[in-house]
């Protein structure tokens, strides 16, 4: 197997707030190999975007980052991006690490022509690149996105949302990064444009062997465009593995609930997961999903589940898999650990009433 372009190990990104640190990303690990697309899914507020920003070192000044983000250039040694001086990191952003944003409407400077955006991006990394060369490279990138040459000197407000997103992608691609984070690149766009953008991203992988982390809450996109999928909940990755395997045979209850919540033609009633993702200042003890989990056990509320690698290659962080996989944990889980949690809670509610 080829070496991963990007290895993230135990990454933590905490925001300082008045109420205490928000643990937006809390010990996340994953690998992305050349040409591979990793889908990152989860509800809003699970830390997906923060994870994407954390990889590029683009977190706000009030955030602290810890752990390892190792970037390997082809044939080169790996470098840990966490703790790298700002100037070094800035040099990597663009030519090595790309980022595509959620809302293309506001991501281009309204006072600058499209041409000036390209000039700025290329000059930032290739000092003294002649103007002709800049133009040629920019037009090539734009052509790949279906933006005609005649629009090169237009201003951002003269484009539609879909075109702006394609321009943003062209701006990321013109520096030919080996690794791109796409943060919900189609959320703000209509369905036809969405399909177009997804196709563009898929072509990218085919033509340039670009690795992609695709952040989305649209499971359909993951099924269609991703090789592997990581399901995120409350700052943790709860399940990770081959996209088909995870979809066909979801292990973690959260993944199952998420999949049940999708809408298709066969949908008769809408399913949703009751409650909302927890407050990340004071996340729940034990498994962070236990308050909303339909199969939670008493032990789930006490002890955090370990990550278990299953025979299918999927990892899941749930006691449902951890207990059968490692019998030595059963004792730790306690004698009545396997009692259902929510039945107990219902009784206690009744008692109070």
């Amino acid at each position: 197997m080829t070496e991963p372009v990007l290895s993230v190990r135990d990454l933590r990104v905490w925001y300082g707030t008045d109420r205490g640190p928000v643990r937006a990303v809390d010990g996340v690990s994953f690998d992305v190999r050349p040409g591979e697309t990793l889908g990152l899914v989860g509800e809003s507020g699970c830390g997906k975007s923060t994870l994407g920003r954390g990889v590029l070192g683009l977190t706000p000044p009030a955030a602290a980052t810890d752990g390892e983000v190792v970037l390997r250039s082809p044939g080169g040694a790996g470098r840990n991006l966490v703790g790298l001086p700002a100037r070094e990191l800035q040099k990597l952003r663009g030519p090595d690490l790309g980022l595509i944003f959620q809302e293309p409407m506001t991501r281009l400077n309204p006072l600058m022509r499209i041409s000036q955006h390209f000039e700025e991006a290329l000059r930032a990394h290739h000092k003294g690149l002649p103007k002709k060369e800049i133009r040629a490279r920019a037009l090539e990138a734009l052509r790949g996105m279906g933006i005609p040459e005649s629009r090169y000197t237009s201003y951002p407000h003269e484009f539609s949302g879909g075109m702006r997103q394609r321009i943003m992608i062209a701006l990321a691609l013109v520096l030919r990064p080996a690794f791109i984070v796409a943060d919900e690149p189609t959320t703000a766009l209509d369905v036809l444009v969405e399909a177009q953008i997804i196709k563009i991203l898929a072509d990218l992988r085919k033509n340039f062997d670009t690795s992609l982390v695709l952040i989305t809450h649209n499971l359909g996109i993951v099924a269609e465009a991703c090789d592997r999928v990581a399901v995120m909940y409350a700052g943790h990755i709860v399940e990770q593995g081959d996209a088909r395997e995870v979809f066909a045979n979801p292990q973690h209850p959260y993944t199952r609930e998420l999949l049940r919540s999708t809408i298709s033609l066969a949908t008769t009633g809408l399913h949703f997961i009751p409650g909302s993702p927890p407050d990340l200042v004071e996340p729940p003890r034990g498994c962070r999903f236990h308050p909303r989990c339909p199969v939670a056990m008493r032990g789930c509320a006490e002890i955090e589940p370990p990550e278990v690698l299953l025979p299918t290659g999927v990892t899941s962080a749930c006691w449902q898999q951890a207990l059968p996989a490692d019998p030595s944990l059963v004792e730790e889980f306690g004698p009545d650990g396997r009692e259902p949690l929510h039945a107990v809670e219902e009784i206690s509610v009744a008692d109070e009433a």
């Binding site: 590029l56 683009l58 952003r93 506001t106 400077n109 006072l111 000197t153």
Partner: protein, 339 residues
């Protein structure tokens, strides 16, 4: 290429629309000036001759001056005087208002320009610093200073400045008797054209304190506007996008932050000119600066309404023209303005 010509076409259309829209605005303005002068009781003749002449003589004088004519007749005459850019002849000293503007306008222009330069030189860098280093000491101090300066009226700051620096700045000494040929009616420019650098220095010395007094009136607005705009534009999505492409932080702040922060400031600048002209009237009086504003106060005291009406009209027209110019500059900088 066709793209560029299309853009300049929309710019031309934008400018013509703005000019057309200014016409009704000017008309309303003229009516306001006219009515305000008539609403106040008394007229130049009653105020200067009242008690000296008997009632029939007063009435005869007023008839001769046309003050008893119907209002629409008076308004029509006023309108004619504005259209011919003549603005009437003062009643008290028989000067053409146009001559007053030409002879004293240069001094007012010099003063307001001085005040603007002061406000820009202090306000822009301080505002940018405060915005860049938000909530740091430089920001807190500048916010405090800008509030104080904005809240202090000219009639307080000007005498205080005089007291503190009146003698050291050479303000109190009389102007050198100037002997330069009049070319532009702007004293400092005439002196410079004549090569009389002693005179230029002397004028600048006398300009310093009034400019600061007047500039303090608007520098607070400058600082606050630039600060808040920079803070907002630095949180802009395109700023993060530029960072994500590895643009150097210095360039991100300068090219994306500062430039976008300055656009709204230009608009405010237009509004500040009106404030400056108002402030100039008091500043000129306090520093005995030979501008239109000082003349205006004298004419108000004499209830010379032709003169006051003429001068106020000119001030108003200047404000209208400047706000038009600001619109054009805005359209040049920000392509979204020309729809």
């Amino acid at each position: 290429m066709s793209n560029t010509s299309k853009q300049s076409g929309s710019l031309r259309r934008y400018i013509l629309t703005r000019i057309a829209l200014a016409v009704p605005m000017v008309l309303i303005l003229l009516i306001l000036v006219f009515v305000m002068m008539r609403v106040a009781p008394g007229d130049p003749i009653s105020s200067s001759q009242g008690g000296k002449l008997n009632a029939t003589e007063l009435a005869a004088r007023r008839h001769a001056a046309g003050f008893d004519a119907p209002l629409y007749q008076q308004f029509w005459d006023y309108l004619k005087s504005v259209v011919t850019l003549n603005f009437g002849t003062t009643f008290s000293d028989r000067r053409s208002v146009r001559d007053i503007i030409i002879e004293n306008g240069g001094a007012t222009l010099t003063l307001t320009a001085g005040a603007l330069v002061f406000a820009a030189v202090i306000g822009i860098p301080v505002g940018l610093l405060a915005g860049r280093y938000r909530d740091r000491p430089v920001d807190v101090l500048s916010r405090l200073a800008s509030t104080i300066s904005y809240a202090s009226p000219v009639f307080v700051t000007a005498p205080l400045l005089m007291l503190a620096f009146g003698t050291t700045s050479g303000q109190a000494s009389p102007l050198i008797q100037l002997n330069v040929p009049t070319q532009t009616h702007i004293l400092i420019v005439d002196a410079a054209l004549d090569g009389d650098w002693d005179a230029v220095t002397d004028i600048l010395q006398h300009l310093l304190l009034p400019s600061i007094a007047l500039g303090l009136l608007i520098v607070g607005v400058f600082i606050r506007m630039i600060r808040i705009n920079l803070i907002q534009s630095l949180q802009g999505d395109y700023i993060e996008a530029a960072r994500a492409r590895g643009v150097r932080e210095r360039h991100v702040v300068a090219r994306h932050g500062f430039r976008n922060a300055l656009v709204p400031v230009i608009t405010v600048l237009g509004l500040q000119v009106a404030m400056l002209l108002g402030g100039a009237v008091l500043t000129e009086k306090i520093f005995n600066w030979p501008g239109i504003g000082r003349q205006l106060i004298d004419y108000i005291n004499q209830r010379d309404y032709v003169a006051v009406q003429g001068i106020v009209t000119v001030f108003a027209l200047v404000v209208v023209v400047i706000s038009l110019l600001i619109d054009f500059v805005n359209a040049l900088i920000d392509p979204r303005v020309r729809y």
